[in-house]
């Protein structure tokens, strides 16, 4: 009788105040989801590592044949010729030219549109323009390349007739086209950064009798600087990496020039052109692709690290 009494009070739902603290089910679903999520995260890291490793191993093969100083400091780029030269400087300057002109166009246009969108534009206008900008971001780069050749080139020739325009290709035209391509990117990210500045900061400035321009330039812009720098870094990466527009509008002649009306090959244009099947597997010219790819990777990496430091230094932390 006693034992029965104990069983009832111990296991019975209503009588005992003590309730089971053990899990009612093994929760396999939870564990499965966790594994799947971890696998996805792991895969992207793995793929990135794989890309870097394949670049580096290809580059290592290249540097067994060509000394690294000849690659980095040589001023003639002719990897496919019988009398081959592997000086990378001409195509690096080609890339830098593009980045320069792209930034000249995209930073002012992008930032000023962002300030307009975040501080000046009425809600209705912003709701129309922002999606349009985002659509613009998605235009295929081939279309932009065509636009550069068919429209931008003659247009710039009309605007700057005193320049020495020769041949169909010009790095200035390609740079401006790349710049237009990344304006939406700069504008959209900077706009988000400025809009996330707390309303209290704006109100505080307005309450001191500051005009809209002053609030935008002296309070909102500095407070959003980390987001704005991030936008510019992304823009630079995009300009360095842009291939199709450059291939179409800047041409394929590797030469050291800072004249925007001249043709020049960029690093990406070289890879794009070479990897389309002109060169057979295992030759030295084939491995140059990897060397140039690795250099591109290092350049963007260094720039990103630099940007992180820059942001940390100038960031205005609120709260």
């Amino acid at each position: 009788m006693t034992t029965a009494g104990i069983t009832v009070s111990g296991g019975g739902a209503g009588n005992s105040p003590r309730r089971s603290l053990e899990a009612p089910s093994p929760r396999y679903g939870e564990k499965t989801v966790k594994v799947i999520l971890a696998a996805c995260a792991g895969l992207s890291v793995l793929v990135t590592t794989g890309i870097v490793l394949s670049l580096l191993s290809g580059a290592a093969d290249f540097f067994r044949e060509v000394p690294i100083h000849e690659f980095l400091f040589g001023t003639t780029w002719a990897p496919a010729f019988a009398d081959a030269h592997f000086g990378v400087i001409p195509i690096v300057t080609g890339t830098l030219n593009i980045v320069f002109w792209a930034l000249v166009v995209s930073i002012p246009l992008g930032l000023l549109s962002a300030i307009y969108l975040s501080e000046y534009a009425p809600n209705r206008v912003r709701k129309t323009i922002k999606p349009m900008l985002e659509v613009l971001e998605g235009i295929p780069t081939v279309a932009i390349g065509l636009f550069a050749l068919m429209f931008l080139r003659p247009f710039l020739e009309d605007v700057f007739p005193f320049l020495d325009w020769t041949g169909p290709h010009a790095i200035g035209v390609a740079g401006v086209a790349v710049g237009l391509l990344i304006v939406p990117l700069v504008a959209s990210i900077s706009d988000d950064a400025m809009r996330s500045v707390p309303r209290g900061l704006r109100e505080g400035a307005y309450a001191l009798g500051a005009s809209k321009l002053r609030v935008s330039a002296r309070v909102v812009f500095p407070a959003a600087i980390s987001g704005i720098v991030a936008a510019i870094v992304l823009a630079v990466s995009r300009a360095i990496g842009e291939t199709m527009v450059v291939l179409m509008a800047a041409g394929a002649r590797p030469q050291i020039t800072f004249d925007p009306t001249k043709s020049a090959q960029t690093m990406t244009a070289f890879i794009g052109q070479t990897a389309t099947g002109e060169i057979s597997f295992g030759t030295i010219a084939y491995y140059t692709i990897f060397a140039v790819g690795a250099l591109l990777f290092v350049m963007t990496l260094v720039m990103n690290l630099f940007a992180v430091r820059l942001v940390r230094r100038f960031r205005e932390v609120y709260e």
Partner: protein, 307 residues
Amino acid sequence: MTNNLTQEITRTPPRSAGDDIKEASGVYDQTDISVRPEEFRQRGPAEHREKTFELRNVSVSYGGNRAVHDVSMDIFHKNITALIGPSGCGKSTLLRSLNRMNDLVPSAKVEGSLLYHGADIYGPKVDPVQVRKVIGMVFQKPNPFPKSIYDNVAFGPRTTGIKGDMDDIVEEALRRAGLWDEVKDRLDDNAYGMSGGQQQRLCIARCIAVEPDVILMDEPCSALDPISTARIEDLMLELKERYSIVIVTHNMQQAARVSDMTAFLMVELTADEKSRWGELIEYDDTSKIFTNPGDSRTEDYISGRVG
């Protein structure tokens, strides 16, 4: 002295104050609120007679929804005027219409007449930026800029182009805000390293540096601890020697401690009973509001029976 008066009020518990009124309330006409400020103005001390603001039938709506309905009151020069009332009664909205901060909300609309020393604040030639130079504002949550203490105070004078040595202007503003001794050795430090109470006094210093006439304060102590609150209240009593102050507060004790005049607003049903808006119930000398209010709703509110 007003100070003695307010101290007396502080010592009187609000509930017993409310009880006293039951006998006294018969003396006043409870239905006609608008007469009261006029009455006070005629018998009040001379320095109270100058009006800083005259509000006549002021209504504020956001996108067609009326938040404040038909407020008429005078706000006096170098007084501390408290706006009290339950949440949603429109006291902050009313405060923000005094320096055109409501302009920043695109859907906001202010109706009625709002005069500052006789000039229409919403007149066609009036520049809202200029209005805010003359009528400064301190907010509920301390909102210093993410810059140095010095740059925070110098922001306003640099904006308005006030002439003089900037170091002197900054020091003077910080002294008046009672902050100088605490921060004089770290003017270049970021303002976010300060305590909440210090940040709020910095915001007051920043406001003073522009040399306004009026300081509007929107629940300036609601995010602060009692000690910081007491410091800000002391500061307000000092500041009223130079400035007219209008303060919105949830804290009735605070209104009783610092203000000369108190306006009580309440949420009322609209005539068609479909929505609610804030209305001015009673506006009078603070000592009167807290000891002998003319309206039973005020009495209920300050004695803690409602809201």
